[in-house]
Symmetry: C2
Subunit: 521 residues, 2 copies
């Protein structure tokens, strides 16, 4: 089967053999994907000229309703999507839920908050302001939808959530979407878009999909377009630095590599509630989706006094994690997405091992119910480095699998310094019962992180977790993490709107404001 | 005299001969500037390590007070600055006021609005939000100052305003500034920074200055830094696309070329108040600072029915404009900044003339009180193109001098289409007595403009004008204009802050919020 591309309002197969998509557990080829021969320039143009005007003519409430219907369509087909996620991504039920339910849940959330914006189709940003003595002449700021197309380039680890968390915000903003899922796991994205298109929920041209290589897509983006990219830093740099992107000031959001930290507070003694919550969270972040989450904990910082206790507790927990074929009900962790990525992870572990000793994951390993040769498994691999200040690779190389490194620290300043060595990350977490340390750590980690989760015993159960991206919160991080921001509730709409200062007669400004919804974040 | 650089907390002369700065009226060399031999990496590092912590330790109120003192220092030396502006930029009194008073006024404005943020040194962005059923676990967003340096690269036309409108926002944010004025007119920037440094107003490392080439400055910027560039699109593309900038996700704001339009409404008959206001504004935008404003009106769109009347009225007005040595009190328009730019302007006019006929500016021209050979004058040059839909160069080539092109339109749709042909501009203006057209035009011009001024008779006198950048309003534009945003009141602080989502115990979040000031735009 070759996955078709949905461009120009129709399904078109790419030419040639295409690239294969595999089952990472069984090793079977599931489908092929190709964009060869597809006119990408025409695809973008169709979205701009057909989808854009149709979406912009709709009110926020109407667009929100559309998101709600997309979410309902996805929910109705949930079981089938779980099967695809298991087949093409080797997902366990928990993994598939994060991706599939995460996608439909984010759509539902934006349907809810978008609906409250009502009948308007543009926004005010702040109130009227005087510019001089005469009250008749004032200024205000409006946000109007970009008149281009939103190009969404997604990563292999979230074929559903990545697609919909980006599309929800763009579509609510009135901007048509051309999505390019990662080829390796495009099966699920393709099925979902097909279902949504067939349900007739979105206007013609509002949602396009290409399955396969992005080819020369960046040659065709224009002023008024916005690109949101999730993936490797290397590819991000190539695309963001593309001459056409630079020349046309195309908005470009990047979410890339990240050496996220989790910090166990200096107050946390072995066996304290925060100690236990921390151990559980590090283990969970290593094993959920086999550690293939851009937000996963890569560096775990613990007070030197408890490093041995943490090492033992984590090794114990990871040792009990059943790894293998997710079709087996006892399995808690699945494979890496494919053999290429498996090799990347194993090579990465070797790099880290030059600076850290191996606590778990070394030696013999047999996945449950899967052929080690045909499949792409890597065991949970816990490393430990007792001289983290001297380390280099550990703070630089993101190994995208079930891999994390324990590091001891002496005093909060060292912990803050080590966290910053990541060069900018998506998420940090802090486990502490000490309110003073909690406040200080949040502020000190803030300049180099997009999100800081602070956990104490009281929120241990209700915490949404270190690695889970909630649509209410901005998602992105500075520096190495790409410098971007997605989601964040209505904040996310700004990326898809042009802000304009309007100066003039205050009566006219009031009339314009009355036709708008207010954006207050 | 060679202008020294202020780096590492000390004044250092660059090596070699340096580049000359001229008097564009008399042709005299005034000074030289060189950054050769200056360790730019060390200069940035000193700002980061010394200026940054000092500024971040200050509250918003303290930083605002500092801006007020800078403004006062500038005001105290105003007469001397006017002399420098006349000598190095050929400014008239009006020109110098826009630059010099514009700089001190913007500082004063930020001192005022910054003072209201009080004792805090970080900001909240929105309120607490629940993430699930448990009220104890919530999220909020904070804005903390970037921990790097603000690199400000400015254009030759505003050696004062450009310097201070950028510095005011960065310093109020708690981010140290390294400013690089354009070499051609660095005399004024240098004098101002020298006065401010000598007055002991800013902490050590908070304000650095390099006079001369930027050399390999972009090799040394890092994650946490922010670059704000004003100047040519060509240079902007080089710097923004620099591998180190891309690799480190360095924030990069660009304000570049712009083919700004002014539109006379379909309702405006010859002799109507809006007709007269439009003619006055186009003439003013052409002649103030000899048209060397990035916001100046380059394309003037008028209803076909009144194109002849507008042509005559403008030609009449421009014919009366006395052009020459600003030391002569009858002079209303000065020179182009130097001989190189004069040649660029004259070459640009030739390009435009391939698509437009020349109404004024052709033929013999003698500047008052200046030698045409030694000086750099260009007369006010009004062009007219009666087939603007077919034009190409007129919508693409920004001639940075006293040059504008009249174009007739039939119906509002054609006017909107022509405006968008600029590919993204800083500012548009609309002169109309028709409220319906005013509202429609504001919304239709919004996607491709950073600012839209709408003028009717009632605000004809109090309007701040098409080309004047008010600190209350965002300044920047999409596409060709660079895709950036500066100023906009407190909105401008966002560029110099990292936004972080903090998740945790709501009691802890409330405590963090209590220590912060609220950012509501």
């Amino acid at each position: 089967m070759k996955l078709a591309n949905y461009v120009g309002g129709t399904w078109v197969e790419g030419s040639g053999d295409g690239a294969p998509l595999f089952d990472p557990v069984l090793g079977d080829e599931l489908a092929r994907a190709s964009t060869d021969g597809i006119d990408l320039s025409a695809a973008l143009d169709y979205a701009r000229r057909t989808g854009g005007p149709a979406l912009r003519a709709m009110s926020f409430a109407e667009r929100a309703q559309m998101l709600g219907k997309i979410s309902d369509t996805l929910a109705a087909n949930r079981d089938r999507y779980f099967e695809l996620a298991q087949a093409n991504s080797g997902n366990t039920q928990v993994d598939a839920s994060i991706d599939v339910d995460g996608g439909s849940g984010t759509l539902k959330y934006y349907a809810y908050i978008g609906g409250k914006l009502g009948d308007a189709n543009y926004l005010t940003d702040g109130a009227l302001e005087r510019l001089g003595k005469d009250e008749a002449f004032q200024a205000m700021h409006l946000l109007v939808p970009l008149d281009g197309v939103a190009v969404h380039i997604n990563a292999f680890n979230f074929p559903s959530w990545g697609l919909w968390e980006k599309a929800a915000v763009a579509l609510l903003s009135g901007v048509p979407v051309l999505a390019k899922p990662a080829t390796a796991t495009a099966l699920l994205s393709h099925a979902m878009v097909k279902d949504v298109v067939e349900a007739g929920i979105v206007p013609d041209g509002a949602l396009s999909l290409i399955c396969g290589g992005a080819r020369e897509l960046m040659d065709h983006v224009a002023s008024g377009d916005a690109v949101a990219f999730t993936g490797s830093a290397e590819t991000a740099h190539l695309l963001r630095g593309h001459a056409n992107v630079i020349r046309n000031s195309v908005r470009f959001n990047v979410e890339a590599d990240s050496l996220n930290v989790s910090v166990l507070g200096p107050d946390a003694a072995a066996g304290s509630p925060e100690f236990d919550l921390f151990v559980r969270e590090v283990a969970r972040e290593m094993t959920v989706k086999a550690g293939q989450k851009c937000t996963a904990i890569r560096r775990a910082l613990v007070p030197a006094a408890v490093i041995d206790a943490v090492t033992d507790a984590l090794a114990d927990r990871l040792g009990k994690t059943v790894v293998g074929n997710p079709r087996d009900e006892t399995v808690r962790m699945g494979p890496i997405v494919d053999k290429v990525q498996q090799k990347n992870v194993l090579d990465g572990i070797k790099q880290l091992q030059a600076e850290a000793k191996t606590i778990t994951g070394d030696g013999s390993f047999e996945p449950v119910g899967a052929d080690p040769e045909a499949s792409a498994f890597v065991p949970p691999t816990l490393l430990r480095c007792d001289t983290p200040d001297e380390a280099d690779v550990l703070h630089k190389v993101e190994v995208f699998g079930p891999v994390s490194t324990l590091m001891p620290y002496d005093g909060a300043e060292q912990a803050y310094g080590l966290a910053a060595r990541g060069g900018g990350s998506l998420a940090a977490s802090v486990f502490t019962g000490d309110d003073g340390f909690a406040a200080e750590a949040a502020l000190r980690l803030a300049p180099t992180h997009g999100r800081v989760l602070v956990v104490d015993e009281a929120v241990g159960k209700s915490s949404t977790g270190h690695g889970i991206v909630m649509p209410q919160c901005v998602h992105g991080g500075p520096g190495r993490a790409g410098g971007g921001e997605e989601l964040g509730g209505l904040r996310g709409l700004r990326f898809y709107h042009q802000r304009v200062a309007v100066q003039g007669n205050s009566g006219r400004l009031h009339a314009l404001a009355e036709g708008a919804a207010e954006l207050t974040v």
